[in-house]
């Protein structure tokens, strides 16, 4: 079984647009949306949830105000500025900042604080028109998105084994931090979607540093390549120098937004230059993965 993660460094370059189209193109796969704090793939694939589970991330400190003597030891112990004296109700925990470390619990001479488990989000396994999908939604203002990504990937792997799939197709998050690294560990290939802007190029350099740091094979696809062809050439040159293959150039076309409004993968929504380019990109990726069957 092979795994590919689609990432970008910079947000909004077209990761989800590509993943949705690949989902419609590739036959024998499981889909995983690992952008757990702002997932959008479901807006194109319309999953029907068959299994929903609570995700317990970090714990949270809970204070018993009747035992609290307002000595302030907890505030001093907390490195995350999650405990402060409030006018209305004495010392209070700010759950959005609490990382559940327990330093306050240890420091409190009154034993007024305990750590409690909290539901930080939900994971889903769903049916879609294009196959089974593992996804999640992190609750608002929560931590541990990396851990949730790992849970989604484990679900995808279990499904892939059960259904004997040959590929897991992973939609990653923007950035280079915790959730992105969790979506990359152990995958066979990273597809980096970039755009011909100075920000796109800058962010591409950083995400390529991340994939090479973790020893993950990477290929690049330039989306909206024709909005600035000089920058597209610059990106192609940069990739050549680093020995990274550019697997395709996708033109800018308002049909991508129209497909999004229609709630469909663009290759299903319309035929044309964008859909042709995406199909060509997939052919090269399939070769890079050692052959994956397509519809």
């Amino acid at each position: 079984m092979k795994q590919i993660t689609v990432i970008s460094g910079k947000g909004g370059t077209g990761k989800t647009t590509l993943v949705a189209s690949f989902a419609a193109l590739v036959e024998n796969k499981v889909i995983a949306d690992c952008d757990v704090d702002a997932p959008d793939l479901h807006l194109l694939l319309h999953p029907e949830i068959i299994k929903k589970e609570e995700f317990k991330g970090l714990k949270v400190a809970v204070m018993n105000k009747t035992l609290c003597t307002e000595c302030g030891m907890c505030e001093e112990a907390c490195r995350f500025n999650a405990i402060a004296l409030t006018e209305e109700s004495g010392y209070a925990v700010n759950p959005a900042r609490c990382e559940g470390c327990g330093a306050c619990v240890f420091s409190c001479p009154q034993e007024a604080i305990v750590l409690k488990e909290r539901v930080s989000g939900y994971t889903f396994i769903s049916k879609t028109e294009y196959g089974t999908m593992a996804h999640a939604q992190l609750n608002i203002a929560e931590e541990a998105s990396g851990k949730l990504v790992t849970v989604v990937r484990n679900h995808a792997q279990q499904v892939a084994e059960k259904e004997q799939r040959e590929l897991i197709l992973i939609d990653g998050a923007p950035g280079i931090g915790c959730p992105v690294i969790a979506s990359l560990t152990g995958v066979d290939l990273a597809l980096i979607v970039t755009e011909p802007t100075m920000s796109g190029l800058h962010d591409l350099e950083r995400i390529l540093d991340v994939t090479s740091h973790f020893g993950i094979d990477s290929i690049v696809c330039i989306n909206k390549y024709d909005i600035n062809e000089e920058n597209s050439r610059r990106i192609a040159n940069f990739c050549r120098q680093r020995g990274i293959e550019v697997v395709g150039n996708i033109p800018y076309d308002s049909v991508v937004t129209e497909a999004m409004v229609a709630g469909k993968p663009v290759i299903v929504f319309s035929e044309g230059a964008v859909s042709d380019a995406i199909k060509d990109v997939w052919k090269v990726i399939a070769k890079n993965l050692g052959g994956i069957s397509s519809n």
Binding site: G12, D37, A38, D40, R79, I140, I176, H213, M260
Partner: protein
């Protein structure tokens, strides 16, 4: 002085475009780029860098002359960042450590000391006109601890000036760290189904944090009317619409703030501040 955060759930909607052009439309401001994973403001500001300093987070080190392998540190650590191999060693996994310091607090032998581990750098500079102070954090490659670096960028906050904060995308911990403490938040979105879905999440974050907010619609003219209907229904003020425009897109692609080519927009950006202040008074 006012602290204004510029955020969005979805990536690539135009946070940096808004933050940078707003900064250039006001005078004498500080811009904090808290998108430490992929900072881009400096590409547009092109600052003369005055200072680069490393940022650290603490990690435990064990003094084996004192350690008796009791295992209390590993038992206390909520992140499984320590493993004690009896009579042999205490393994520390820095990438799991949150730097809370609990292990050193619980150690009965006083055998754990914390040492700084570099997680990134903080760069400070000014644009060529000298009217924007830019501070931005750059997270080290392979590093997962974005939040402490964001906190340290925010320690550079200058109370004497209006401050604009460029926030990372998403709704999780790095966003909270960047937005918290702001007087107002501008949410940048695009009028598409993805833009709308992620805007709703961002709105929930700000409601939890009790920070007043309004919306800037970027690439107006593409997509559908969902974002407008949502804002109307929720009573959310639309502060500004930036049309989808070839010249603006080209400026962005070249790393040029578009108010430099379209100076009439300076007034519109500065006008947002008046709208925010007016709303605050009533």
């Amino acid at each position: 002085m006012m602290i204004i955060a510029v955020a969005s759930g979805k990536g690539g909607t135009g946070k940096t475009t808004v933050a940078v052009n707003l900064a250039l439309s006001l005078s004498n401001v500080q811009l904090l780029d808290c998108d430490v994973e992929e900072p881009n403001s400096h590409i547009f500001i092109n600052p003369v860098i005055e200072e680069i300093k490393p940022a650290y987070t603490p990690v435990p080190t064990v003094n084996y002359e004192r350690c008796d392998y009791c295992g209390k540190c590993a038992a206390a650590c909520e992140y499984n960042a320590l493993v004690v191999v009896p009579q042999k060693e205490v393994m520390v996994f820095p990438e799991l450590c949150h730097g809370c310091g609990l292990c050193s607090m619980v150690c009965p032998q006083d055998a754990i000391r914390e040492e700084p581990r570099e997680i990134g750098v903080i760069k400070t500079g000014k644009n060529s006109d000298g009217n924007i102070d830019l501070v931005y954090g750059v997270l080290n490659i392979g590093e997962i601890m974005a939040t402490p670096l964001i906190d340290q960028v925010k320690e550079e906050l200058n109370q004497e000036k209006p401050v604009i904060i460029d926030v990372p995308p998403g709704t999780a911990c790095p966003v909270i760290a960047a937005v918290q403490g702001s007087d107002y938040c501008m949410l940048v979105t695009e009028p598409t189904p993805f833009g709308l879905y992620d805007l709703r999440l961002a709105v929930e974050v700000l409601r939890v944090l009790k920070i007043p907010f309004g919306v800037v619609i970027n690439k107006a003219g593409i997509g559908d009317s969902g974002v407008y209907e949502y804002c109307e229904k929720e009573g959310i003020q639309i502060l500004l619409e930036i049309p989808y425009d070839k010249q603006i897109a080209r400026c962005y692609s070249e790393g040029v703030p578009f108010v430099q080519e379209k100076p009439e927009w300076k007034e519109r950006f500065a006008g947002i501040i008046d709208k925010i202040l007016k709303k605050k008074k009533c």
